[in-house]
Subunit: 396 residues, 3 copies
């Protein structure tokens, strides 16, 4: 209890007022203090749960989930976060709704929000679309709130869009912070965010983009590496560059996995699709050009196959700091010989890091809960103390 | 708090004992007092929520949802109502169940109800079927309760059937009451429930039927207008006629949108399918006659297209009282130039009424919660006072 | 209240410590004391609910449901049990997840369990697969718990596998106990678990296997009867044989429904598929041999059709003790002339036992809740007293 109170006390160091009644769409829209506050609150919630203290702050209320793509981890993390805070997750299944009847985004956004405190959205399939959709929803519920249509302003959590995957990168970062014993120990550490081969194509760019956009804020050396042609969205590289410059870190690009891995403290090898190709695909889908989509798919698979060398092998790991870099992945990984013939990572490497990888994923429910909490309570410290005062046990 | 207590006090004016352990299937099966009590309780719940008072009356229990047609608004309204009162909504997805294994309605009704306090059903597709199905379910859970199979008698809420859409018409009516500053101000007001053109066909009749069946109870002039051949179910017109006669209002039919709009205080222009055609369609589906269904669909679209003039344009609105009638719709509307080329309403009209329309929809969660509440608590006043005494906050 | 306290007191007679942090996969893995404790706790929960006492022991937490086959009764029973204890049921819908992306069972098991207290699984389609899958999940969450990946060890409830259907057989047994006024009155009673004709094929074996595996523990005469070739899994018959020997009961096999029904106190006539055929089907599915599957289906239907005489008719019932044996079924039953032309049971017999059959099903939510409870609380008596002390009402 005393340690939780101490942790709450540390929150006062951060100015996170701007998060109140606001969305969490891109990490780089948030101040350093806001990012730090989310990490702190996530740690507090974890500590509370471990101490059998229930941080239920809502007696009722809905947490809308709107998934336009498959999900296991994030869906369950969002469900867990809602449940922990007392919200009931309500799926908005577009197939069962009447949006095909010509309902506008504005209308849907308001219609599902009468008793919604939070809306979590995954919309990561189409470049230029996902984040834009989230901003539309946000704009419309803000207007609905101001117009008196909505009694409360539901805040949005980006559960992965075309640009960023903030609940992932924040969970990843909290894992790094815990692994290295504190954010103050990260200065000068090297993290390699690299492409890796996968027999599938079209994996979202939001994970690598989110990682370089966030990890560049802590004075680390962020090394991005991918084969030629697999560029990320330019604006996210720009974010990383500016972040690095501002924090005394660096952001370095190369076309060599080996170079990136060399002396790295952390490696994050993961497949993604070339940005230009994804833009093209979005257009093809927009035009309903199925032949074009098939041709593009074939082309991308062929292109991928030229880079099978981009695998996180034992040899690659030997290049890292003392051969012991922290291996990271958002999961599920394409494990060579396990989930596919040739993939992103050698089975022996994956298996050695399995437990830390699962723990990495385990931060996500707390990160999401913290994001939601900071957006719903104007005085986070006070409310956290109120939770302690209420003395509700999670399990009787 | 004082104002909420005053509102609860006003409940004593109404005799709504008959609602206890009873269903809400058709508004015209309810007494004027019962209807008034639902409006009052809905307003109380809204006031409680605005005051951060949680009206959670169930610590556990299920609210079954059984949707045989698509839904956004009503689904979320039902989910919200259940959540607000403390019930967990449990979808009964017929596709995932064993009813294909020859389970009878009687059996299913009992099997899903062991811990169900409420069952919400949407079954609006087939004339002569939906309401009948609800009555079967009701009969069987009543029997199950009497036989000792069920510990509690789950009460039903009609979330739209072939005859009525009571949660819609009641939300609509509460919107009207608030708009005109009280039910006592409605005497002599004119409401135009009119057909409107839509490029789709086969829209349910339950909304116009529900509207004329309910709005005719308050001394208003109810003007129903539709093109020849687009008749509603005769029995619902009979209800409207009797209601009007009993309350000093009137129920007038015509085949002219202009006539209905003339000097109207409220207009509700909305597409629906001809009753006779829907009866025919039900038979065709019953016989699995796909060719017949296609032919009917084509015929109906052609018939609709002859009535494109039935659009709620700016000119039509000018005919109404001071050109400023309250425009209503159950949503989603077919908006000309927005959701379709030519539709029910001009974009400029819709846009001018967008906020009131959204507010109209916003009454539904409270109406459903009130219907559920009145059916589960024998002494509504006492329980509402108990809620206040419990002093539970919705948000910490 | 006094009677509930007395019931809790009776729990002290049973040593059920082994259930804590453990799964419920097969009844014959549980000691007699553990089985008795589950029955007692189920009765206590029912009594609590009837007394409007809420046994909510979780303030938050998830109950994962993983159904690989259709379900009505068990799905709603599991949902009810979770809800009653305070867990939110979260469906793990494999279609919406990323397990197709090469996620392993180990990974999925951990990823869905960060805040899961219980996992309920139905996996009954393939011989040799379902129970094995459950054990894999159990092994992996146990490892995840020990490795520090999971804060709590989610315990599993078998909601039907290829071997046993423990929530069904336990609910059936509790129904029998109540019907005969106590487990002490069962010694010497005869129960006939017999095959019955159904026009469908491939019904799971887990119900009859579960019944003979459990009902043989109470000193009863268990008579298993089926046409030649419709053998159950050998190991479950072995369980029944040993149980009977240990409790002074008997386990008798025959190929005659009449012989089994003769003088029976209880009859449980139900269709199932031959074990050998189900093994073959599992292989055919494994090889993706659709032609083989179709051929097998045809073969099995033809084989079934030779045994239409295996129907629970009025004449068959007359053979039983005083012609009044308790008729049981897991539902839905194939009722001759109702859900099919010729089936498992005559309509008049089914109808006479409809109410007891529904009551039989009504025990399942409490049985599941009791299984969950015993696996989550080390000191069941103390926690049950804590529930009473908390004095939470289910309905205000």
């Amino acid at each position: 209890m005393a340690d939780i109170k101490a942790m709450i006390g540390e929150l006062s160091r951060f100015d996170a007022k701007g998060m109140y009644n606001n969305d969490f769409l891109l990490t780089w829209e948030k101040s350093d203090d806001e990012i730090a506050a989310v990490f702190k609150v996530a740690d507090i919630f974890r500590k509370m749960r471990e101490s059998n203290i229930s941080p239920k702050v809502f007696d009722s209320g809905l947490g809308i989930s709107l998934f336009r793509d498959q999900s296991t981890r994030t869906r369950f993390s969002y469900a867990s976060a809602c449940n922990m805070l007392g919200l009931v997750m309500q799926d908005f299944d577009e197939g069962k709704s009447q949006i095909s009847h010509g309902e506008t985004v504005r209308e849907t956004a308001n219609m599902i929000s009468f008793m919604a405190d939070v809306i979590g959205i995954r919309d990561d399939m189409y470049i230029g679309k996902g984040n834009t959709y989230m901003r539309d929803v946000s704009k419309f519920v803000q207007a609905g709130y101001e117009e008196g249509v909505l009694e409360q302003r539901p805040t949005l959590v980006n559960l992965q869009c075309d640009i960023d995957h903030p609940t992932q990168s924040m969970a990843d970062m909290l894992h790094i912070i815990h692994h290295f014993g504190g954010v103050e120990n990260l200065r000068g550490k090297k993290i390699a965010m690299t492409w890796a081969y996968s027999p599938s194509y079209g994996k979202p760019l939001s994970v690598p983009q989110g990682v370089i956009g966030l990890m560049s804020r802590f004075g680390m050396e962020v090394a991005l590496a991918h084969p030629e042609g697999y560029d990320l969205m330019g604006e996210t590289e720009e974010v990383a560059r500016k972040n690095a410059a501002a924090t005394g870190g660096s952001f370095i690009k190369s076309h060599s996995m080996e170079e990136a891995f060399k002396n790295a403290d952390i490696v994050y090898p993961k497949s993604w699709a070339p940005f230009a190709a994804m833009e093209k695909r979005t257009d093809l889908y927009g035009n309903g050009d199925t032949d074009g989509i098939k041709a593009l798919e074939k082309e991308l698979l062929t292109q991928n196959a030229q880079h099978k060398g981009w695998e996180c092998t034992e040899d690659a790991m030997k290049l890292t700091k003392d051969g012991k870099a922290l291996y990271m992945h958002c999961l599920p990984a394409d494990i060579s010989g396990v989930s596919c013939k040739e993939g992103e990572v050698a089975a022996s490497v994956f298996d050695r890091y399995r437990v830390p990888l699962y723990k990495e994923a385990g931060f996500k429910p707390y990160i999401i809960a913290a994001m939601m909490f900071m957006s719903k309570f104007a005085n986070a410290e006070k409310t956290l103390h109120d939770i302690l005062a209420k003395d509700g046990r999670r399990v009787l």
